[in-house]
Amino acid sequence: MGLSTPEVLHVAHLGRIHLADDEVEKFADQLSTIVDYVNQLSELDTEGVEPLAHALPIHNALRADEPKPGLSTDEALGGAPDAAGGFFRVPRVIDDGSSA
């Protein structure tokens, strides 16, 4: 069964990954092999078995709602590829019709 090329391109797009034309087939083949392998789970009867997201029963580890110091603005911007005026600077997000 595996993954079709359109499916691979779809999940790549969802994951914000661009695949070059000459990579698509290779990834499609590899992902299909893996998906075929994991499909063996359908052999198992899991009727009435609850999903287990976390193997340890730890719940709602909350602390009191008291403000504590965090990273300063400078520390938070320290690794930024582009920053200005105390903000992360990024390409225009909202398309207001004007050219880039």
């Binding site: 969802l14 092999t33 789970l41």
Partner: protein, 493 residues
């Protein structure tokens, strides 16, 4: 290099007695790295000046008679997915974080510093801890010190190789599907994955949040216990951190566990298992029988192939979520050319991530996507409960489970890197423990005819590390694999 032939415990004692200075211990590591790392490539970052400053500081405190801590003056290496705020970058084996300086220390790094350790450097790893060979590192592969044409295992291959080659006595790794135990096995060192929740993940760059755990790599069980003692314990900053007291792992370490019931899962001795591995592991189990342990075969129908299938849905799913943050906005690599915001995300990620990371993000995205979520992700979580049940039921009958850590000894560099599924099956015996949260250790149990190490894996139930270490110590005491040195250490000594 007599200094580096000591165990960490011996070094720690010599440092305390002032028979050895921290400066000399640190210098020995730096020289070993200079001599051996061009071949092994275990380290991605070291800062000799910072190491010497830290060594001088600890020497001064020891000279003044201070109790500096559990690891006073002992050199330690740290896998490059744990945040180190000062001299060293945290790059996770990836171009997307190449050179990134963490603004804070991981909890385990804080603990190392509080206990007086000297952090020698950051070690190489598969990118974002995704891999079983350390070949998926942006910085190139690490080489197995026992045969540099073979892999050290992964993803903590750098840490395992650094310890095996005696560049450092102790190293931290992380284990999500076997990434401490398997490289431990392939490099002939002790590698342990504690129970999920024992060691804080604060500052561990996340791969799969319900599976990741930090643990020790060392040449001896006692050294692994020492390092675990230093980093284990509750941390309120990690909401998955277990809030329970940590026992003294060293206190009773030399007391064998008696009576001892050992379960050998029949699924751990399959047809695909390398015959030399099978023989060496059975011999090691035979040692326990001679010591009076009872060995029985047990049945864990979901613990191997189904656990791998489950793991390669759950882990990529969690990874696809955890790695969404690498978008070129806040930190790390940003592509220089992009048409707009979405294009910036796509180019930064496509140029910044390697193939294995891309595969796993796509797999995870697929498994979580609309129309496939129930059949894949939810199904996998149901099977995860079946895997957990297999282990729970086994531990009602036996004290521990034993088998090979890895189906094969170290394979050649390049042999599996183009065959993802073959690579994934390296984890056949290790993923079950991560899925179930239980504790596991790999201890050396011999060498193949070609001189490659083989590891015995021992698994115990949750929060039983004290017993696990005592059981591991039993076979170590009867054999002497830890005394063996890789040929390349001899050649340049």
């Amino acid at each position: 290099m007599a200094i580096l032939n000591q165990t960490a415990c011996q070094m720690r004692d010599a440092l305390r007695r002032r028979d050895l200075t921290v400066a000399d211990a640190a210098e020995a590591c730096l020289q070993a790295i200079e001599r051996l790392d061009p071949t092994v490539a275990a380290f991605v970052a070291t800062d000799a000046a910072a190491v010497r400053r830290r060594a001088a500081e600890i020497d001064a405190r020891l000279d003044a008679g201070d109790d500096v801590g559990l690891l006073a003056g002992v050199p330690v290496a740290v896998k490059d997915n744990m945040c180190t705020a000062d001299a060293l970058p945290t790059s996770c084996g990836s171009r997307i974080l190449d050179g990134w300086r963490a603004p804070y220390n991981a909890h385990v790094v804080e603990r190392l510093l509080a206990e007086g350790a000297v952090i020698i450097g950051k070690t190489n790893m598969d990118e974002f801890a995704m891999g079983s060979s350390t070949e998926h590192s942006y910085f190139g592969p690490t080489h197995n010190p026992w045969d540099p044409e073979t892999v050290p295992g992964g993803s903590s291959g750098g840490s395992a190789a650094a310890v095996a080659a005696r560049m450092v006595p102790l190293a931290l790794g992380s284990d999500t599907g076997g990434s401490i135990r398997q490289p431990g096995s392939l490099c002939g060192v002790v590698g342990m994955k504690p129970t999920y929740g024992l060691v804080s993940r604060y500052g561990l760059v996340a791969f799969a949040s319900s599976l990741d755990q930090i643990g020790p790599l060392a040449r001896t069980v006692g050294d692994a216990a020492l390092l675990l003692q230093a980093v284990a314990g509750h941390d309120a900053r990690d909401s998955t951190s277990a809030d329970q007291p940590v026992p003294d792992y060293l206190a009773a370490l030399d007391e064998p566990l008696e009576p001892l019931r050992i379960g050998v899962p029949k699924q751990f001795f399959t047809e695909g298992l390398d015959p030399e591995v099978a023989r060496l592991v059975r011999d090691a189990i035979g040692v326990y029988e001679r010591l009076g342990a009872k060995v029985v075969e047990v049945d864990l129908p979901h613990a191997t192939d189904y656990a791998i299938a489950t793991y390669y849905i759950v882990a990529p799913s969690e990874a696809s979520s955890n790695l969404a943050r690498y978008d070129g906005v806040h930190y790390g690599y940003r592509a220089s050319e992009h048409a707009d915001m979405i294009d910036m995300y796509m180019r930064s990620r496509s140029e910044g991530f390697g193939d294995e990371v891309k595969r796993r993000i796509m797999l995870g995205t697929f498994a979580l996507s609309s129309g496939y979520y129930d059949a894949y992700y939810k199904k996998a979580l149901r099977v995860r409960r079946l895997v957990r049940r297999d282990f729970d039921e086994a531990f009602e009958k036996v004290d521990c489970l034993m088998g090979p850590t890895s189906p094969t000894p170290a394979f050649r560099i390049g042999e599996r890197v183009e065959n993802p599924l073959a690579m994934y099956l390296s984890d056949l015996f290790t993923v079950g423990a991560n899925m179930s949260a239980i504790a596991g250790i790999s201890v050396p149990c011999g060498f193949t005819a070609a001189g490659l190490p083989v590891g015995l894996q021992i698994l115990t139930g949750v929060f039983s590390e004290d017993r696990l270490l005592r059981i591991a110590r039993m076979v170590e005491r009867e054999t002497d694999w830890a005394a063996c040195r890789p040929p390349l250490c001899e050649a340049s000594a």
